[in-house]
């Protein structure tokens, strides 16, 4: 216990604090680690098995945020004890706004992995219907060769990266699939390799930068995309990325992201992705590519 309190005292600067909390939360001997483990087991007992009901999604996400707050309060408690032992007091009452910031920025990303699996399952159940329509949409769009899809989505022709369509001798332009905007597509796919909402949003931003970089390369000059051009391209990339359960992903990110991002670039990009998701669910996205001048390669 001596060591633990000493450690808390030594690591109060933001960077050190994050490291210290990360270590504490992953240790089964540290009080904070023990607390997190108990919370995790309780959470699993509540929301796995028969608890996995879509109507509990709201409760569950509130509970995870609540746990982040409680862990922060527990940390502050430890800090207070540690200071008292040195004859010092904790400066002043904590501002609730600063507290919320710390909880979202610092604690939530550290503890989210412990609850993610059960939590994500609830989002899956809640968005099952839309996700299934969306799946049909992407399954269908995946049948389109690249140029057909760009055409189908009304991407303006001067933005098509035709040079990326490297052809083998027996192929035609109109048959190549999965070559256009590949770098952007790969970025977007990375979104599901992390559970941290911030990291997911960073991948989304990188996707957007890649789309713009590709277009700038095609046009031979730096080009900033207005929404009229960006949205069809983002729909193209989203359909090629084929992220399963995109609806569940989007809603979980939105609920768990730092509220400071509200109204900012991340919010905007997430909204744009959501609109792609909505658009892909539409009935006319379920049309088959016309068979004219198109055969399976």
């Amino acid at each position: 216990m001596e060591n633990i309190l000493e450690e808390v005292l030594q690591n109060r600067e933001p960077e050190a604090l994050q490291q210290c909390l990360r270590k504490a939360l992953s240790s089964s001997l540290h009080p904070l680690g023990k607390l997190l483990r108990t919370m995790m087991l309780t959470f699993q007992a509540t929301y796995a098995g028969i608890g996995a009901n879509k109507h509990l999604q709201g409760l569950a996400q509130e509970e995870v945020k609540q746990h982040a707050q409680e862990l922060w309060a527990a940390y502050r408690g430890l800090l207070q004890v540690a200071l008292q032992r040195k004859g010092q007091a904790l400066e002043e009452e904590e501002d609730t706004e600063i507290r919320d910031l710390q909880v979202h920025r610092l604690v939530l990303p550290l503890i989210l992995p412990s609850f993610y699996s059960e939590l994500f399952t609830l989002y899956l159940l809640l968005h099952e219907k839309e996700d299934s329509l969306y799946s049909q949409g992407i399954a269908n769009l995946s049948l389109f060769p690249d140029t057909k899809l760009l055409e189908f989505l009304d991407v303006q022709k001067h933005l098509w990266p035709c040079k990326d369509l490297t052809l083998t001798s027996d192929q035609r332009h109109s048959l190549v699939r999965g070559k256009c905007f590949l770098s952007a597509t790969e970025c977007l796919q990375k979104m599901i390799t992390t559970v941290d909402p911030r990291e997911k949003l960073e991948e989304l931003e990188r996707t957007y930068r890649e789309i713009e970089a590709t277009v700038s390369r095609v046009l031979g000059q730096e080009h900033k995309l207005p929404m009229d051009d960006l949205l069809p391209l983002l729909i193209y990339v989203a359909s090629r990325a084929r992220i399963q359960h995109l609806g569940a992903e989007i809603h979980l990110i939105r609920d768990m992201m730092d509220p400071i991002y509200m109204g900012g670039l991340y919010d905007f990009l997430l909204t744009a992705l959501e609109s792609c998701y909505k658009h892909i669910q539409r009935g006319d996205m379920h049309q088959l590519p016309s068979s004219r001048d198109f055969r399976e390669p």
Binding site: K224, P226, M227, M262, L265, S275, K278, R282
Partner: protein, 221 residues
């Protein structure tokens, strides 16, 4: 980000979200680019996107962080509108004065916005391309009286000649501040439940530690 990337001065800043609506060729993007890249404000450009722009303003001592969201103008994306304009404090509806159809589109948007967001949202109807006055197809009187009838303000602009744009945004910001203040007062009186405050109006204390982010509002850090 946009909300918190404030300067060194402590205090509060308003954060407003404004959506930009209008048909494809009415010049809505040039309008905003013109505003955000205004030569007088070169150093204040905080983002470099064309579809999402932010601007910091100081209006009568009140600091405002403005985030402008572009939308796709194509008809087939019309149904996606509500995803973009939820939680907006303001909307800029642009039509081309030489194109009667684009004015009709604006009317449709107004109806929809009023239906979904009520009177809380500040609407600006903007007749763009006044440099093409000779080819005008939407009469000034008709446009202005329509705007008045729906509680919106009407503006005449030319993105090409940089006319009327500064006034449009300044005026809109002032109106949004007023609306936000009415909201605050209502909250302060305890007359409404705290949960009723609109999410869009965030009043955020600038955090000193946020400055390390390089002052930008992009969330690259």
């Amino acid at each position: 980000m946009a909300a918190a990337g404030g300067g060194a001065a402590a205090g509060r800043a308003y954060s407003f979200k404004v959506v930009l609506l209008g048909e494809g060729c009415v010049g809505k993007t040039s309008l905003v680019l013109r505003y955000c890249e205004n030569k007088f404000n070169d150093k204040h450009i905080t983002t470099l996107q064309a579809s999402f722009l932010t601007k910091k303003l100081n209006i009568g001592g009140k600091r405002v962080n403005l985030a402008i969201w572009d939308t796709a103008g194509q008809e087939r994306f019309h149904a996606l509108g509500p995803i973009y304009y939820r939680d907006s404090n303001g909307a800029i509806l642009v039509y081309d004065i030489t194109d009667e159809d684009s004015f009709q589109k604006v009317k449709n948007w107004v109806k929809e916005l009023r239906k979904m967001l009520g009177n809380e949202i500040c609407l600006c109807i903007v007749g763009n391309k006044i440099d093409l006055e000779k080819e005008r197809h939407v009469s000034i009187q008709e446009a202005e009286s329509y705007a008045e009838s729906v509680g919106a303000k009407h503006y005449h602009t030319s993105a090409k000649q940089n006319k009327g744009i500064e006034e449009l945004f300044l005026d809109l910001c002032k109106r949004m501040i007023e609306t936000a203040q009415v909201d605050e007062r209502a909250k302060g009186n305890g007359s409404s439940q705290p949960g009723a405050a609109r999410r869009g109006v965030q009043i955020i204390d600038d955090e000193p530690q946020v400055q390390s982010g390089g002052g930008g509002c992009c969330s690259s850090g």
